[in-house]
């Protein structure tokens, strides 16, 4: 790492054409050079990109993986989601703290190593896990933690901590990760057999409108969670009047408990890029962007390599497969640690070089998306389905699945189950059938769709996994009878508090208030009136929030109030004395005690 030097900053800006829209990349490179984004660098970046300085600070201060203050050359980020916590986060964290002699959020006195906690890094099936700079370490134990610290002290190279490589492309020379795929069940779509490029060839033999019609006939719906019909989205994007259009693939897989896109990116990158190319042809786009979450940066060299190979084979670039007039390429945009960027308009803001604030709708991305041009934003899995639909036919696809929902779905399963991992299942099976597959028959509760989804109990296990009943973006978190579900709710609320962008009032403030009340319920400080309080507050957050994050952030509270109400009432007692039960007199006089320099005589 070098000392601050303005020439380096200028060079970096120049490499990105002094483009304001590439500020994410500029800032990341600057941080790579200096270990952080120093004050002077912000001024220099602002000058080079011709924008106000506060916009640089706005961006840097927004993303968890960017920093204005110096940190260690090595940053250990322990994944602290609910599943990792169930599988020993505290033990592992203690081992790291002990070995390093620091707490979470601190840097060793020699300035070399920083210890942090981070939300789900997409490794719940091999938890506890951590990110060490760009390197992922999984299945951590106390001994492994000690070895890691010793290794880092000795050689300082996180990559050398990877002793055994994972399966499939995890062992590829450009990946070299200890991550494993844990593909437990292969279906006919994502993990089905197919001939590379057949989908694209078939698409190019059709007119773009016919391609869109095929996708509509297949009844494919968005796999990210919202379930919008893909063909209709493309139709809108194509219909928007503009010369320039974009395909954006949302690979910002941040919903805690979801890791299926990671497996697709590792094993089926070409299937995805082919789908992105078909999408580009269908909507009339010249460029595609893969927005990849920062946690998956270890896959980037491999993905860049896959793109380069496609260019060499004429599958990207000018006149794709000899098709005159179809020029299309794909670039990768890295994220920087923000769950909100999985929301499509936030993702666009981020890809444009801004903080990841959602945009006002209308206009929708299909009308005015990336850089103001019509953009189709699709999930990784959705685009893979597209390739298969064009390869094997819309009719073939549409007959799979349930009545209302065609095709298959990848589910990422973790928690209290015997066989965690990724399952490709046909839509239409019951949750119960699925839990049996994953070895989770004794589940007491299942979080379907991650924290933004719903917590369901055994009474709901006969519900059907499809868009019309139990919809899910892919996360299934299993909780056994031994788990304290209100603790889970409290962890989920903590997650939303940290990940709210802060743009709108209900999400920014409401989630803090919900978390606080849940803590009071857990501490036995509430009377039954707290239920109405939580419902009223939760509904306000749900109804009044500006984007999908806020609109779903109260779900952990609202769905457990609905499906697990006795857990709440059991911790409440009637307030017969009429006292304010949450009032803590010793906490209330604490500041006064500090000022007075003595303990209160009465309290």
């Amino acid at each position: 790492m070098t000392a601050y030097n303005e020439t380096i900053v200028k060079d970096i800006c120049r490499r990105f054409g002094n483009e304001r829209s590439r500020m994410m990349d500029v800032v990341k490179e600057v941080q790579t050079s200096f270990g952080h984004v120093p004050n002077e660098a912000m001024d220099a970046i602002a000058r080079a990109l011709s924008c106000p300085r506060v916009e640089v600070q706005s961006l840097v201060s927004f993303y968890a993986f960017l920093t204005e203050r110096p940190k260690g050359n090595i940053i250990i980020r322990l994944c602290d989601d609910v599943i990792d916590r169930m599988q020993g986060f505290d033990r592992i964290a203690d081992a790291f703290k002990e070995e390093l002699g620091i707490g979470i959020g601190e840097t060793t006195t020699d300035g070399k190593i920083t210890l942090e906690a981070t939300p789900c890094i997409g490794m719940c099936d091999q938890a506890p896990a951590a990110l060490i700079n760009d390197v992922i370490v999984t299945n951590l134990t106390k001994d492994a933690a000690r070895e890691i610290v010793a290794g880092l002290r000795e050689h300082g190279d996180p990559q050398r901590l990877v002793k055994r490589l994972g399966d499939g492309n995890n062992a590829h020379e450009l990946v070299r990760a200890m991550v494993v795929n844990n593909v437990r069940r292969k279906g006919d779509v994502i993990f089905g057999e197919g001939k590379p490029s057949d989908g694209l060839k078939n698409a190019l033999a059709m007119s773009p409108v016919e391609v869109i019609r095929a996708v509509k006939t297949s009844r494919l719906r968005g796999r990210g969670g919202a379930g919008f019909p893909t063909g209709i989205k493309w139709e809108f994007t194509r219909a928007a009047k503009d010369e320039t259009r974009y395909v954006i693939c949302n690979a910002d897989e941040g919903e805690p408990g979801t890791f299926k896109d990671r497996v697709i990116l590792t094993e089926k990158a070409d299937l995805l890029f082919e789908g992105m190319t078909i999408a580009g042809y269908a909507i009339g786009a010249q460029a595609g962007i893969l927005y990849l979450r920062a946690e998956y940066v270890y896959l980037r060299p491999y993905l860049e390599h896959a793109l380069a190979e496609r260019r060499k084979s004429g599958l990207l670039g000018n006149k794709i497969l000899g098709h005159a007039g179809f020029n299309y390429d794909i670039r990768i945009q890295m994220g920087a640690g923000a769950y909100i960027c999985g929301e499509e308009t936030s993702l666009i803001s981020s890809a444009e070089g801004f903080r990841g604030d959602p945009k006002t709708r209308p206009p929708f991305p299909a009308q005015k998306g990336y850089m103001g041009h019509p953009s189709a934003v699709n999930n990784v899995e959705t685009l893979c389905c597209v390739t298969r639909i064009l390869e094997r036919g819309a009719g073939w696809y549409a007959q799979m699945g349930s009545n209302g929902t065609s095709g298959t779905k990848l589910l990422s399963v973790s928690g209290d189950c015997k066989i965690p991992g990724v399952y490709e299942i046909p839509f239409g099976i019951t949750l119960k059938e699925f839990l049996a597959m994953a070895g989770a028959e004794d589940a007491a509760a299942v979080q379907v769709g991650g924290p933004s989804g719903q917590m369901v109990g055994p009474a709901e296990f006969n519900r059907i996994i499809c868009y019309d009943d139990l919809a899910t973006g892919g996360a299934i978190m299993v909780f056994g009878p031994q788990r304290d579900l209100l603790w889970v709710v409290s962890r989920f609320m903590e997650f939303f508090v940290e990940e709210s962008c802060g743009y709108c009032t209900p999400c920014r403030v409401g989630n803090v208030l919900l978390r606080r009340k849940i803590e009071e319920v857990r501490a036995g400080k509430c009377d039954p009136a707290a239920i109405a309080y939580l419902e009223d507050l939760g509904q306000t957050v749900k109804i009044a929030s500006r984007c999908g994050l806020g609109q779903t952030s109260a779900n952990p509270v609202l769905t457990t109030l609905k499906n697990f109400r006795p857990l709440y009432t059991a911790r409440m007692k009637e307030n017969e004395a009429g006292m304010q039960m949450t009032f803590d007199i010793s906490a209330a006089v604490r500041d006064a005690e500090i000022i007075a320099g003595r303990k209160s005589a009465n309290f």
Binding site: P52, T360, E499, G502, R508, V509, V512, L513, L537
Partner: protein
């Protein structure tokens, strides 16, 4: 008036509007007031405070950003929506440190006025008492972050009216705050006493110095008529 118009319903009342208008703009012209804090005349809509939340054909939307549409049915003054608005105002009060009794903005403050209009006497949510600072480095203007409600009116005014970029948001979630376009604080920016930005702050967060009590309490903007009266009095028929 040969322009194309659309007709829609707000709380049972029929309103005519131009198709490019937002629900809020159309309602303003018709003398129907929808409570708001971040929306402000002459500034682009922002949609952050969510006080103007209405239901459009049953779906929640922000009236300040949602366009009108032929035949849409808008609910605004329903018990459910008013409760949501009160909750949002409550949230803004407990999120910052708002001491109306000795705030120089009292009586001219839109947050305070909105609370009165919606019938709030004290917040029902617990105060957060955040530790926030003040930037008094500039000779003529100051920022008191204790009172900021993150409506971006200073940011938008500086950019859209004053032709500057003196302010911007930094941080995220509960840590979000308004920052100045200089590491030296307000004095390092081109903010000036002639700027409109301080005048457009709805609360006592961005203020001109030395005029705090020029108008005595009791004679201030919202002391006599509730906020929104100007729009409601515009009613032509």
């Amino acid at each position: 008036m040969n322009e194309k118009t659309v007709t829609f319903i707000v709380d049972g009342k029929e309103i005519k509007a131009r198709p490019e208008q937002t629900i809020m703009k159309a309602c303003d012209e018709a003398g129907v007031y929808i409570p708001r804090l971040c929306a402000f005349k002459d500034l682009s809509p922002f949609g952050s405070c969510r006080v103007c939340t209405v239901k459009v054909n049953g779906r929640p939307q922000a009236a300040c950003t949602q366009p009108v549409g032929e035949g849409i049915v808008v609910e605004s003054q329903t018990a459910e929506i008013q409760q949501i608005r009160r909750n949002i105002i409550d949230m803004l009060f407990v999120e910052g440190n708002h001491f109306c009794m000795f705030c120089e903005k009292s009586g001219n403050c839109e947050l305070q006025a909105m609370a009165y209009r919606l019938g709030i006497l004290a917040p029902k949510f617990p105060y957060m008492f955040p530790v926030r600072g003040v930037d008094a480095s500039h000779p003529d203007i100051f920022i008191d972050w204790n009172r900021c409600i993150l409506c971006a009116r200073c940011i938008r005014t500086s950019c859209e009216i004053d032709g500057k970029n003196a302010y911007g948001f930094i941080g995220r979630g509960p840590h979000k705050r308004v920052a100045t376009n200089s590491s030296a604080g307000l004095k390092g920016t081109d903010a000036d006493v002639s700027d409109k930005a301080p005048a457009n702050c709805p609360v006592g967060s961005l203020m001109y110095k030395r005029i705090g009590y020029a108008v005595p309490i009791g004679c201030r903007l919202y002391d006599k008529n509730p906020i929104g009266s100007d729009i409601e009095m515009k009613k032509t028929t």
